[in-house]
Amino acid sequence: MATTDVALPEASRQRERKRVVNNLSIQVATVNGSGSQSSNTVLLRSIFQMGVPVSGKNLFPSNIAGLPTWYTIRANKDGYIARKKEIDFLVAMNAETAQEDVMALSAGAAVLFDEPLNLGGLRPDLTFYSVPFDKLVAAVCPEAKLRKLVKNMVYVGVVAKLLEIDPAEVENAIRKQFASKAKAANLNLAAAKAGYDYAAASLTKQDPYCIQRMDKTKGKIIIDGNSAAALGSMFAGVTVVTWYPITPSSSLVESLIDYMKQYRITPDGKATFAIVQAEDELAAIGMVLGAGWAGARAMTATAGPGISLMAEFAGLSYYAEVPGVIWNIQRVGPSTGLPTRTSQGDLLSTAFLSHGDTKHILLIPSSVGECFTMAQDAFNLAEHFQTLVFMMSDLDLGMNNWMSDPFEYPTTPIERGKILSKEDLERMGGFERYKDVDGDGIGYRTLPGTDHPAAAYFARGSGHNEKSQYSERPDDYERNLERINKKFETARSFVPRPEVISTAKTEIGIIAYGTSHWGIVEARDQLRNEYGIETDYLRIRAYPFTREVHAFIEQHERIYVVEQNRDAQMLSLLKLDIKPELTSRLRSIAHVHGLPLDARSVTDELTSMEGR
């Protein structure tokens, strides 16, 4: 065994003595399409079942099979679940990237590798474990064509042994993963056991990392943001769903289809929903508008390229005042290259999506829990304000597994907004669709099919008066535009409020949103513990901004706006909204390499900008 032969450097020996418990990041490097997804999920779940807070992030190529893919699992006793910059334990299964992956590690890390890769001599400052995966898998998997898939479960067993994960938890996780397929479960169990036994017999533990039982995950669930969004939408009462497949949004609708088929069929077998795979995103949003206009709760899910195609209809919705919910699972820009990497780069283009004066309500979830609750907010807000609401999720949130408290049953009823019934019309005699009766900018609408001669109105774009009659009069246009703006102003006190930590003890504020939140939580602790820098924090959850956002900026001298795009898009949006004399307080920390934000990068940049 290569490992037992390697003489340990002194530093490494000492680290071995000082055990690192429940604080490490594991990276598994495999080839796309090799079935490593199940193995990684099992490993993640095993740690989770040990009661240790854990998060998993998949870094995958835009490819079906053959290109390199990495999965990182972070276990952290303090509950930090952001991506960790440093890798502590590498599982190298991919010949193509193995050398580079090893060279990128910090001293002291451990490497578990497939024997033929022969990595053992690459660096003296790492611990190496060599495992003959092919031999082990051949012994437990007689069917040659399955070996490629089952091989990955072997490393789960090896890692479990090396990190002292209870093998019973590995078994539970495998049983859960292959719940409906007993044969596959048994095969994978055998593979994991082979790995475990091999490690027990042939490997000597030399790295300091281990997992020990805690009770920090009790009662928690593991779910990806897209599934959470699907559940939220189902409980929000969505009835019309349209989509055109695009990573990273497809799994949202696919998961919704599964849930709806299971839970939204009437006792006599009828569907209480219509889900349509449209011909493109133009049609997807067009259907949402048609359905929203006719009174359904309608949604579609897409990513940047789809958002771009939806631009024209988004403007029509703004002017014709049609409700709908659009999930934007953000990813890196145009399709070729990095479409499978995360980003917060669509903020500005979505906020002002379309032509003419247009601005939209955006909700920005940070967690799977918020994907669930904000889905309900989104539908209620869309109908309340008779406009589109964009749900600004991202690939990191949408496609990765996150730990969460179980979701709570909705506490607010489904709110349909100002809709006039036949009886209302009988009482009122008629109505004016685009008149601001209540002073909040929001008119009353009727649904097609309302059985009253005065129910109908004509929905169209820019040119109409309060009665929804065609008009090109400048005063009609101006009045209408001002009223629609008033809706937006009204929305400031209806959208989800930010999460604010304001101590009045520091001049430094941090503003972030979406998945950047997790890096900030950790970075604030690093700043305090390592540099003695206290920071206040505001997490934006919606656009238009609520008054808390303005107050926070007034209260702090230097505000770091942290985001995952190049052009400081949130900072730009804030600038448009705050007093001009305050704009110089805003400083940008931008992060653009397509990987989820890590705390260390924020800490480093903030301290250097603070002159420390």
Partner: protein
């Protein structure tokens, strides 16, 4: 029919007690003589005679002179003047939301055959219950007379520009793709269009009607193949069409040798008195061939080319509840606490 026993003549009412005035719209702002206005008139008459409650009808449209026309008929029906070429998606969403609505979508040849061809194609595939009318003048009226993709080879613009590209035959496409009631008519052929519209109203599935509708301002001159004169000289009807609504309990004898009778979904009867021997409107392949032949012959074939009253619609395929999705109560669209608890347990 109700005529009060006084000397003043009461307006005629239909079977739901409405007069034709109840089906009117705003005053047209289209050019005097525009074919689109005549089509609006035919729609008013057909809906009135069929006794369709206007409140049940929706009139989505795209962008163009044609797409403006829903403002000029049936003011008691909801309208949605959408974006250019996208009437099909808006209509689809609305009908899925409430399948009890009767959708009458209005489009133009530019709206359909160029910018909107993708949505047109996919709407036809789904056999959603809608009536899709193309008011076809061979040009973009609203942008002042450029050629559209239905302009015939060799057709000439006022400026002298000749169309060098072959036309898209929207009827052949619709049949090919799955529409279940496909016909062509002419805004100037009052009787034919009237009967066709009534049959369209009785059909359950996608109706696609291409109605040649001359643009008097930009495409009604010598050299145009979409002018009144050209149509007078080149229209060749396949059949004489009569329509007997289900609610009219009369028996009309017909000779099966010379007439094809199609029983529509609601029991109405569409009688196609053959002008052409052995044309069978239920034969898709023959229908498409015949359209190709007509083009070779330089004639504008009109009539009902294809009809299939029995095909399942998109509503059937999606297996939707009878109650429209829009009015399902919260108890049917928000699952109970037990469901959430179960979903959470699975994720633990």
């Amino acid at each position: 029919m109700s005529t009060a026993g006084t000397s003043t003549l009461q307006p005629k009412t239909n079977r739901i007690g409405l007069t034709v005035l109840d089906y009117r719209g705003g005053k047209t702002t289209l050019c005097a003589g525009c074919g689109h206005n005549a089509i609006s008139e035919r729609i008013i008459d057909a809906m009135f005679e069929m006794g369709i409650p206007p409140e049940r009808v929706i009139k989505p449209s795209g962008i163009g002179c044609s797409s403006k026309s829903p403002a000029y008929f049936m003011r008691r029906s909801h309208s949605f003047n959408a974006v250019h070429g996208r009437m099909p998606s808006v209509t689809t969403g609305a009908v899925l939301a409430n399948h009890k609505l009767m959708a009458l979508g209005v489009s133009g040849d530019g709206d359909t055959a160029s910018i909107g061809i993708g949505q047109f194609v996919h709407l036809m595939r789904r056999n959603l219950p809608v009536i899709y009318i193309i008011e076809d003048n061979g040009v973009y009226g609203l942008t002042k007379g450029q050629f559209s993709a239905t302009a015939d080879l060799g057709s000439k613009l006022k400026t002298g520009v000749i169309n060098e590209l072959p036309p898209i035959d929207t009827c052949a496409m619709a049949i090919e793709l799955g529409a279940t009631f496909v016909g062509r008519s002419f805004s100037g052929d009052k009787k034919q269009l009237h009967s066709m519209l009534k049959a369209a109203i009785a059909h359950r599935g996608t109706v696609m009607l291409d109605v040649v509708s001359p643009c008097v301002t930009f495409n009604d001159h010598e050299g145009s193949t979409k002018s009144y004169k050209y149509m007078k000289d080149h229209e060749e009807p396949l059949q004489d069409i009569s329509f007997i609504p289900a609610f009219e309990e009369i028996n009309v004898e017909y000779d099966s040798g010379t007439t094809v009778q199609v029983t529509m979904h609601d029991g109405s009867r569409l009688q196609l008195h053959k002008i052409e021997e052995d044309y069978d409107p239920t034969d898709r392949i023959r229908a498409i061939t015949r359209l190709h032949e007509a083009r070779e012959e330089n004639v504008v074939l009109t009539g009902v080319f294809y009809v299939n009253p029995k095909a399942p619609t998109f509503i059937d395929v999606l297996n939707l509840t009878d109650e429209p999705l829009t009015t399902l109560p919260e108890s049917m669209v928000r699952p109970g606490r037990d469901v959430l608890a179960r979903a959470m347990a699975e994720l633990q």
